[in-house]
């Protein structure tokens, strides 16, 4: 009977297990294999090079700039996305006329194709595009957004945040609605101010959602590709070349599959370390964990 139960259990998890095996474990295994080889894709020849590609990571003159751009992009996206998502959720966690319309409005970019969304922003951000045209109405000469390093990075971050903040907003909204109203009532009777209630009641009680959004936002930011490819192609210079885009360039544009695989494994390691770190810190952050 126990064996039969175990078999049933395995059958239930098999779809997910097969998915993980085919789409995660086998590709990761292949990436490790390719990272140890030089692959001439035109001839199909594989030459074992051992740890050469790993050593090349230390000598790659572009990699520090790429990691810097990745850190700025990810940090910017995570900070802005969570702050804006939470602010929107707090504002829209009230009953007022048109609240559903606003919720829909802020969520709607999430369902738009990322490429279509980025293309439109690309037109708006051109030197003679819509945003500078709008600024010119007020006598302001806007910058050449996508051609200067700092503004290009800011533009890519904002484009990403505006498109994806709706997800975090909905998650926070759901968490806020789960906070018992009587806690606020009691605090109010005790004379607590709004800011105190927010930091002492709201934030601790939605901390599991904060942890979840932090993890999914940081993983999403580290995997951002399409918006970079469409908006800036990593430029100007290397200012917006984030790690995923660099992996793509090395593996598929430059045909350095071995080195590209090594970079992909480095990215995987980063993501895993960050996730484990956040998971370990949950005891300190998250109210319900003890």
């Amino acid at each position: 009977m126990a064996r039969r139960d175990a078999l049933t259990g395995y059958l239930f998890i098999s779809p997910q297990l097969i998915g993980v095996l085919v789409f995660v474990l086998i590709p990761v295994g292949l990436a490790i294999y390719y990272s140890l080889n030089d692959w001439n894709i035109f001839t199909g020849e594989l030459q074992f090079v051992g740890g050469d590609h790993y050593a090349a990571l230390l000598e790659d003159p572009q990699l520090p700039s790429v990691l810097g751009a990745t850190a700025i992009f990810s940090g910017g996206v995570v900070a802005l996305n969570i702050a804006l998502g939470l602010a929107l959720a707090v504002m829209l966690n009230r009953r007022f006329r048109g609240v559903t319309l606003f919720r829909t409005l802020f969520f709607s970019p999430v369902v738009v194709s990322v490429v279509a969304w980025t293309l439109v922003w690309g037109f708006l951000l051109q030197d003679n595009g819509g945003i500078n045209g709008f600024l010119a109405q007020f006598g302001v000469v806007g910058p050449n957004w996508l051609q200067e390093g700092p503004t290009a990075m800011a533009a890519v971050i904002v484009t990403q945040v505006v498109r994806s903040v709706g997800i975090n907003m909905v998650l926070f909204l759901s968490a806020l609605q789960g906070v018992p109203g009587e806690l606020y009532e009691a605090a109010r009777i005790d004379g607590a101010r709004n800011s105190t209630m927010f930091t002492r009641i709201t934030l601790p009680l939605i901390s599991p959602t904060l942890l979840l959004t932090a993890i999914i936002t940081i993983v999403g930011a580290l995997q951002a590709f399409a918006q970079i490819a469409v908006l800036t192609q990593g430029g100007p210079g290397l200012s917006t070349t984030v790690l995923v885009y660099y992996v793509f360039q090395q593996a598929f544009d430059f045909n350095n599959i071995g080195y590209g695989s090594t970079l992909a494994l480095m990215l995987l390691t980063f993501v895993m370390l960050l996730t484990v770190l956040q998971w370990q810190l949950r005891r300190k952050w998250v109210f319900y964990e003890d």
Binding site: I41, Q62, N128, G237, F252, D253, N255, N256
Partner: protein, 428 residues
């Protein structure tokens, strides 16, 4: 010998005869020097292209149908359209994934493919094919696809770059061109005046977009500059000639305002600029909404020059049907079919290169214009810079060149940084 053995023997004999017959007919159909041994209806050929133009694809299909009718071994010939922007990436991914096409169009990937022995040498097959007339090919257009005296891709498209002029816009700006003495200085001066008078762009290097720097060869060649030395081992971006050429471009953007700056869209064919440098094949984009003229490239300080953009078609060694694919390529590019292809692509055959012949199939430009901007240019033209590892060189140089596109850029030091970035790749 029992009956069963006899039957098997007969079947084997019949198969051999059928195969031999198919081989004979294949050979006779294209006049090729080799005979296929493939059984009837057993060969599927696939050719990757970057065009999605229905007329061009229809022409390819009709040539393929004609070939199939004489070659029973061919079951199908398909032309797979891949998006131009991702063409190289998609093609190399197909090759890496073991899904290589039999034939492929190629542009700047050709050097890598030739260096990796991934292409089938064509010279012997083409020169031995009856009626193919190998000597009709111009040496100036085969050089790009030749290594060790072997041609590896047929240069089906050899489109010179030309100066397109929006005459309506110049008239609106009160400007005239001295077309007998066209120089870059004149184009910049008139472009600057047109920009000041109309707000439209001056001159636009089409497809440059402050990224595809190789298209700037249409300018710097006039200053006697080149991206690297003749054997491609040493960067020459830091030469005096290149510095002067880029100083001209930088002044055009930031001082004279005769060239739209980075991040500014100006499409000549939509009437947004006075001039553009584009390939002659782009004439198809002219819709008659303004008066236009086409001239050879303006002269630079080093005099007149011409530049062509090329595309070739070759057979991949990884094809399962190399022999049949090579035979089809010989048919696709024989004199009769080359004449048909010439309606879309400036041909590599001397016999087809006259203004009158090209005008028979080109409705946008006159025979005289075609003679001047195509025929007279091809024999002495240089090609756009091309090298092995084209994408990596393009990206590294682009990353360094981005610093050029600010008003206070130090032209000389930026060009020096380009050499620092790409010299290791050239030396490989």
């Amino acid at each position: 010998m029992n009956t069963a053995t006899k039957l098997v023997g007969l079947a084997a004999l019949a198969t051999t005869i059928a195969v031999a017959a198919a081989g004979c007919s294949a050979s006779a159909g294209s006049g090729g020097p080799v005979a296929t041994t493939a059984p009837p209806n057993s060969v599927d050929l696939r050719m990757t292209v970057w065009t999605s133009n229905e007329d061009q694809l229809a022409l390819f299909d009709s040539i393929a149908e004609e070939y199939k009718s004489d070659h029973p071994e061919i079951k199908s010939i398909t032309f797979e359209s891949l998006p131009f922007a991702d063409y190289n990436t998609t093609l190399t991914t197909q090759i890496a994934g073991g899904n290589s096409p039999d034939l492929a169009w190629m542009g700047d990937l050709s050097k890598d493919l030739i260096a990796s022995d991934a292409l089938v040498p064509l010279t012997d097959t083409l020169s031995e094919t009856k009626g193919w007339d190998y000597d009709d090919l111009l040496g100036s257009v085969t050089a790009e696809f030749t290594a060790d005296d072997q041609l590896y891709a047929y240069p089906f498209s050899n489109s010179p770059f030309a100066l397109y002029v929006n005459e309506s816009l110049l008239a609106e700006a009160g400007q005239t061109l001295d077309t007998d003495n066209l120089t870059w200085d004149q184009v910049s001066a008139v472009g600057s005046a047109a920009n000041a008078a109309t707000g439209k762009g001056g001159f636009v290097i089409r497809d440059f977009n402050y990224a595809s720097w190789n298209t700037l060869a249409t300018v710097w060649t006039g200053w006697g500059a080149s991206a690297w030395n003749e054997d491609g081992t040493e960067c020459t971006f830091d030469s005096d000639e290149m510095v002067k050429a880029f100083q001209f471009l930088h002044d055009a953007i930031y001082v004279d305002k005769s060239m739209p700056g980075p991040g500014t869209t100006a499409d000549f064919f939509a009437g947004d600029s006075a001039f553009t440098i584009a390939q002659v094949s782009r004439a198809s984009l002219l819709d008659g909404s303004f008066e236009y003229a086409v001239y050879p490239l303006p002269a630079g300080p080093e005099g007149t020059y011409s530049v062509i953009g090329q595309a070739g078609v070759g057979v991949l060694e990884s094809s399962a049907h190399v022999q049949e694919a090579t035979d089809f390529l010989a048919f696709l590019t024989n004199p009769e079919n080359a004449a048909k292809l010439a309606q879309f692509f400036p041909p590599p055959r001397e016999s087809l290169l006259t203004g009158e012949k090209l005008a028979e199939v080109n409705t946008k430009l006159t025979a005289e214009q075609l003679q001047t901007v195509v025929v007279d240019q091809i024999s002495d033209a240089v090609t756009l810079p091309n090298h092995t590892s084209p994408a990596e060189i393009a990206q590294k140089a682009k990353t360094a060149l981005d610093a050029m596109w600010t008003p206070d850029a130090d032209v000389e030091s930026v060009l020096s940084s380009v050499c620092t970035a790409i010299d290791p790749l050239l030396a490989k």
